[in-house]
Amino acid sequence: MNFLGRNRKSANSAKERLKLVLIHDRTDLPPGMMEDLRDELIEVISRHINVDRDRVRIQVNQDGREQQLVAEIPLKAATRSRSR
């Protein structure tokens, strides 16, 4: 729906800030806890696969009134032989 034509200024930052605030309000997940979650996920996954730690991204996305935890976990190329 587009009720009014417009260009954006402070309204844009209001929307972006609200997006994040609502996600944390709805999931009861404080922003700081996302860091812990990220670290723990990397630790668990690293036990099985070689993860590119610096490029791991974890975020909560909004889909209507539903939240999704989306993790992007790039893997490092396997180094040579995997001993069996």
Partner: protein, 281 residues
Amino acid sequence: MTGRKKSSNNSSEAAGNGKVITITSGKGGVGKTTATANLGAALAAEGYKVCCIDGDIGLRNLDVVLGLENRIVYDVVDVIEGRCKLRQAMIRDKRLPELYLIPAAQTRDKSAISPSDMVRLADELRGEVDYIVIDSPAGIERGFRNAIAPADEIVIITNPEVSAVRDADRIIGLIEAEQKGPAKLVINRLNAKMVQRGDMLAPEDVLELLAIELIGLVPEDEHVIVSSNSGSPIVLNEKSRAGQAFRNIAKRLAGQTVPFMDMAADDGLLNRLGKFMGRGG
């Protein structure tokens, strides 16, 4: 909905056909009381029999907005505690033949009433009127729980501001958790010029964030304060754009399909004058 049955008390199945609409917001000061008064008045002007209930025990206000403050004898707590009959607490608005108000108690607090008291009161009213419009207090505590307990439909009022939208989202979540939803949204105090400048959240932004159905857009309008000064509902003012917006919402609540107003027409007279003069030379 106009065909009414006589109340036979007790259970909600046995109660009349009246529909309960609760107006709530989370945040204070976004226009709940104004919306309740005007939706009640607009429904009454459409020919329905309507009773508004002020659910803000201890902070009574719907009476002054409706201009009925001098006629209060009994209040909602008197009804619930059995000190008067339901009809005795229903103040009839003389301007609109079928509009009634049950005022809040001013010297009590929200704990004087429980959610089940409100359900019982609403069930009794269902047999008397077509619509029961409840003005919820701000907040998410007892008063809010009381106000939504009997609701068939919940209307959330918000303003296009970060704090009001955030609180509206919280309320939507609580209503979902109580399985009272889906609630419908009214965006109040929309300033078209600010939206066009990019300095106010646009209706579509608010809808994207809250992801609930829109039932009304109300432009910011000085008439709202003028009409509350004199205690006359703004829907009775044909010239007011906010009044028009509330009349449209009332029609939608009553099941009619009404297109949304053109918010950009807000600059009104000045704009039209400008165009006219420009054309003239």
